[in-house]
């Protein structure tokens, strides 16, 4: 193919941002993500009540002036709990994914770069690992380590890491034999330097997309674990736990499950939209 020289791959951060900006859905996703982050950081200032402030006189009220989204059976303000709940959901989602990414990048880059027997051993271990259903694994880990924030993070992180490792290994295989890697070896660069400067930066784009998308998944997972009583423990507010608590009053007070459900849905959707947009923005070939 001739021409279009100037349209060849554009991989700089500026170019990615430029392309991301054009995708309206991705921008919406990004705005929601930023809003969520701000909410969780500013929770003490924007929440009308404290998350554990009980008001026995007004338990299980519907949305009204004092309590915009109503209260739960202990008379706690649902809006405030949702706002504080975003802290937990985001913290666990982000940290769990970050942990998974670290493990995944280390295993994936070693397996992909060295190949051969190292690759074989690592991949077979992951094979065995991935035979265990993820949800079961998560529940087992959470049960074994005990409930709580840190343990939830570890459970989710360990469970999602193999997927990242595989993805990175696959992209590294295509980058490993590029001539610029050979050129780096020809100047006697160490394996570590080659992996960090030549290989990983060129293989990371699909992983970034995957990570963004799975933050949504991780939030869902936190909610699920908490819903089952294995995640965050009361009184710390968490969307999944709130959903679980509200379950018994679902018929009469649907707002107790409706609002946490909407929060989970919106935040998962936002991360997925952002991830989808990033995928298109990071891969110039998909551009039309």
């Amino acid at each position: 193919m001739s021409k279009k020289r100037d349209r060849k791959s554009n991989t700089g951060i500026g170019a990615v941002w430029h392309r991301l900006k054009k995708n309206k859905l991705a921008v919406v996703g990004l705005i929601i993500v930023i809003a969520l982050l701000l909410t969780s950081v500013l929770a003490p200032w924007i929440a009308p009540y404290s998350y554990d402030e009980q008001d026995a006189s007004s338990s299980l009220v519907g949305p009204c002036k004092e309590h915009l989204l109503g209260t739960d059976k202990l008379g706690r303000d649902i809006l405030s709990r949702l706002i504080y709940g975003s802290q937990q959901s985001l913290k666990i989602g982000l940290l769990a994914v970050a942990m998974a990414a670290c493990i995944g990048i280390i295993i994936g880059s070693i397996a992909g770069f060295y190949g051969g027997i190292v690759d074989n051993i690592l991949m077979r271990i992951l094979d065995v690992y991935q035979c265990i259903p993820m949800m079961l694994m998560c529940i087992a880990l959470a049960a074994a380590l005990g409930a709580g924030v840190i343990n939830t993070i570890i459970a989710i992180g360990v469970c999602t890491a193999p997927g990242y490792a595989r993805l990175l290994r696959a992209t590294i295989l295509t980058v490993r034999d590029k001539e610029y890697v050979e050129a780096a070896r020809a100047v006697n660069a160490s394996d570590f330097s080659i992996i960090m400067t030549q290989v990983v930066p060129n293989a990371i784009s699909p992983l970034i997309v995957e990570i963004t998308m799975s933050i949504g998944g991780a939030i869902l997972f936190v909610a699920m674990l908490s819903f089952l009583g294995l995640g965050i423990q009361p009184p710390t507010p968490e969307w999944g736990a709130m959903l679980s608590e509200g379950r018994s009053y679902m018929r009469e007070h649907s707002s107790l499950v409706l609002f946490p459900g909407i929060c989970i849905m919106i935040s998962v959707l936002a991360f997925n939209l952002l991830g989808d947009g990033l995928r298109d923005a990071l891969d110039p070939r998909l551009k039309n």
Binding site: S2, K3, K4, R5, D6, R7
Partner: protein, 326 residues
């Protein structure tokens, strides 16, 4: 104008649109081919060679590429005005194309013979048995034993694959064959075999061939006339002798000077200085003026007209006389 022209391209302009700029790929090209003639289209990467071939077949990438103006008359009919249905009857039948990379032009999971037979039955009313028979004949014509009909592309070497691609292109005896760098991906000895084959087949079928290449050596060995293209414009057109013995455009001359020659003792080549202009931002005047050693003010201000230097030898340059004298 004689009327035995098979194909005539008139003032073709093609542009590619990208986010914030317009790539001027082909800028007012006029070309015509007679039956049985082989025309070489020579130029560098990005000069617009492939775009011209794709415009003829109407397989430009859409929606980025657009034919802005011009006519492509094939047997007197404007291809650009035909409906997609009519065009499909011409594509692969009356006009066929050979692509540069034989590895990607073949379907890896279909037997090669079937791929040729498919091309035949698409445009001819034949029974499957007849199509197969003709496909075997085509394979044998390009020097592949008919017994290899049922093999898959990966069982063939690069040169063999390109032969299959040629057999497929010639299966319907096209009147015009567009060959886009058909030998660039091949080794020299294999290239020589394929070029010989193309020469022989052309004689046999009396097809007209548009040979797109960057290699003047290939042009010398197979073409009857040559069009030199630079930044989307034909800067020189003439017979083989016109171009090789009386090259007149500074660009054509520069091309010849930058080739390492087998029989010269010089220790330095004479490259053309600079680079092709940015196709999104072409100069106002002659597009070669930035790199031209002869350029004067007029070259930067105005686009040169095409001048007929001698019968059939056209040059697009203001300063032909000066260029010839020095």
């Amino acid at each position: 104008m004689d009327n035995n022209k098979l194909l005539e391209i008139k003032n073709l302009v093609v542009q590619y649109e990208s986010d914030d700029s317009v790539v001027h790929a082909v800028n007012g090209v006029n070309l015509s081919f007679r039956s049985g003639e082989t025309v070489g289209l020579v130029g560098e990467t990005g000069a617009g060679k492939t775009t011209i071939a794709r415009s003829i077949l109407r397989i430009l990438p859409s929606p980025q590429a657009e034919v802005v103006s011009g006519e492509i008359l094939f047997e007197g009919e404007d291809l650009l005005k035909l409906s997609e249905k009519e065009m499909r009857k011409i594509r692969g039948n009356k006009i066929a194309m050979i692509f540069q990379d034989p590895m990607t032009a073949l379907n890896p999971i279909e037997r090669v013979g079937d791929q040729i037979a498919e091309a035949i039955s698409l445009h001819n009313r034949v029974t499957p048995a007849e199509a197969e028979e003709r496909a075997i004949k085509m394979l044998e014509m390009v020097g592949i034993p008919g017994s290899r009909y049922s093999e898959y592309p990966h069982q063939f070497s690069g040169g063999m694959k390109q032969r299959v691609v040629i057999a497929m292109a010639l299966a319907c005896k096209p009147e015009l064959l567009l060959a886009d760098e058909p030998t660039t991906a091949l080794d020299v000895t294999i290239q020589a075999q394929v070029l010989e084959l193309m020469k022989a087949l052309k004689k046999q079928l009396n097809s007209c061939v548009l040979m797109i290449t960057h290699d003047l050596g290939v042009v010398a060995s197979i073409c009857d006339s040559v069009a030199v293209i630079y930044a989307g414009e034909i800067v020189e057109y003439g017979s083989l002798a016109d171009i090789f013995d009386y090259a007149s455009h500074p660009y054509t001359k520069g091309l010849f000077a930058s080739l390492p020659k087998l029989n010269s003792k010089e220790r330095r080549l004479k490259p053309i200085k600079g680079l092709m202009p940015d196709p999104t931002n072409l100069p106002k005047g002659c597009s070669f003026c930035e790199r031209c050693g002869y350029a004067k003010d007029i070259c930067r201000e105005k686009k040169p007209e095409t001048i007929e230097m001698s019968p059939g030898h056209y040059v697009k340059c203001f300063l032909i006389e000066e260029v010839q004298n020095g």
